[in-house]
Symmetry: C2
Subunit: 113 residues, 2 copies
């Protein structure tokens, strides 16, 4: 599957990053997958507010962009596991940084006058 991003001719590489990470739930999904392999239902349960439809869409895009891997087990009941690829794993530090910043930012704007 070819990655969705292939021909953006910008010089600013933050755009490449935001294009891949731009979905509403993508960073949250990635964050949970950093903790290890998760099943569809686990993700659905642990991410409050996401609908199956959106979860599926975002997972498929992350897969198309090479950030996560999808493994289907031919069982009944069905079982599908998601995990980060090497590329997805390479985002761990950045996501950690974003989360830490988000926490700090919340403190700033809530405590400061």
């Amino acid at each position: 599957m070819p990655p969705r991003i292939a021909g953006t001719a910008d010089e600013c590489m933050v755009e490449a990053a935001t294009e891949v990470l731009g979905g509403k739930w993508k960073l949250v999904i990635l964050r949970h997958l950093q903790g290890g392999t998760r099943r569809f239902g686990e993700l659905h349960r642990v991410i409050p507010g996401v609908t199956p439809r959106m979860l599926t869409r975002q997972l498929r895009e992350l897969e198309a962009d090479g950030l996560i891997r999808r493994r289907v087990y031919a069982e009944v009941p069905p079982k599908v596991e998601y995990s980060v690829t090497e590329i997805g794993a390479s985002l761990e530090k950045i996501i950690d940084g974003l989360e830490a910043w988000g926490l700090w930012y919340r403190e700033q704007v809530t405590t400061a006058p």
Copy 2:
């Protein structure tokens, strides 16, 4: 001016970050302002593809969220300068990381089969 984000009751702080940084041009703007104070026209010239309307909107939101400062000089012709606040400056490392990752990612997806 109160920050737009004040009552998101999530436990996942990446959401706080994405809400503040979620605009299409915000990270690019921030990236350029990390280099120092810039005027509206400078930003407009250095960010390809952005319309005055969008640039204004994103700048105002960044200002409302406390990431940048807007200084108006009572001169003619008009002169407005934008610069990062301390909060905005605190994102420098993260934005650098995103840019580096974007560059690396592009290499991965273009060179790998």
